[in-house]
């Protein structure tokens, strides 16, 4: 889990870098599209934090999905949707890692859940844990069973899929 860095220059650089990482299925994003994606990630992060403060995790996930305004564009799972989901996952990870506050795995997973829902890409948020040698909990996102964010290793057991 990357430590957050509050360096504003880092955030600015990451906005550009994260957006550049996220090309659309149809091709590279324009500068305006990159900026929109960065804003979307930050907006989703703020929304996810609010949702978690107000409701249990299950309701927060449902809220992040239900508030999606875009009609689904993808009916199921294809290599293209998996590729798109992973690109978005990388963008979310890179951008949130530079923000202050708790932007670890659960925050990343919630943000990515919203981004994927807005694009009509089905995904599950998985929460897992391991008991030893020391307790650790981890959250990640899967699309059609394939991890989109870094999953827990074999020492982790799945607790719940949301």
């Amino acid at each position: 889990m990357a430590a957050p860095s509050p360096d504003p220059r880092g955030v600015a650089a990451c906005l550009s870098h994260a957006a550049a990482e996220t090309t659309n299925i149809g091709g590279r994003l324009s500068h305006a599209e990159r900026l929109r994606l960065a804003v979307e990630i930050l907006s989703a992060y703020a929304r996810a934090r609010r949702a978690l403060r107000r409701a249990p995790i299950g309701d927060a996930v449902a809220d992040l999905r239900s508030r999606s305004q875009s009609a689904p564009r993808f009916a199921g799972s294809t290599p293209a949707t998996l590729d798109e989901a992973r690109r978005l996952g990388r963008a979310v990870t890179r951008l949130l890692a530079l923000l202050p506050g708790d932007t670890r795995c659960l925050a990343r997973s919630l943000v990515l859940t919203r981004l994927l829902a807005r694009r009509g890409i089905p995904a599950k948020l998985v929460i897992g844990a391991r008991a030893g040698p020391e307790f650790l909990a981890h959250a990640w996102v899967e699309h059609a069973g394939d991890p989109v964010l870094v999953p827990g290793d074999e020492s982790f057991g799945r607790l719940v899929e949301l």
Partner: protein, 106 residues
């Protein structure tokens, strides 16, 4: 439904059916059982024995029935196991990790 306040009576608790609510998930590992309360976001750890007790409680029709099964496998008296089970149940009820239904109503 039996609440934590009403289950201080051991006989009531022993007759109750224990359920794990939908907002609670758990998984057993070799060293302990990890329990997650999705409503509070809190993780709880149960040692191997308590984890096995929780599984027995969920399977059994009532706490007393779980005590019978566990007393056989652990070779302990039923009374001793009932005492331990009730203690565990109260701790889990206080944390909202189980619900107890079907016991005699006060």
């Amino acid at each position: 439904m039996t609440t934590p306040d009403t289950v201080t009576d051991t006989s009531t608790l022993l007759a109750a059916k224990v359920n794990v609510p939908q907002h609670v998930v758990y998984r057993s590992f070799p060293s302990e059982t990890v329990v997650l309360n999705l409503q509070t976001g809190k993780y709880h750890g149960l040692n191997a024995t308590a984890g096995r007790m929780l599984e027995a409680l969920e399977r059994a029709a009532c706490v007393r029935e779980a005590a019978v099964a566990l007393s056989e496998s652990y070779e302990r008296t039923q009374e001793l196991v009932e005492q331990d089970l009730c203690e565990l149940c109260r701790a889990l009820l206080e944390r909202g990790l189980i619900e107890a239904d079907g016991g005699p109503q006060p």
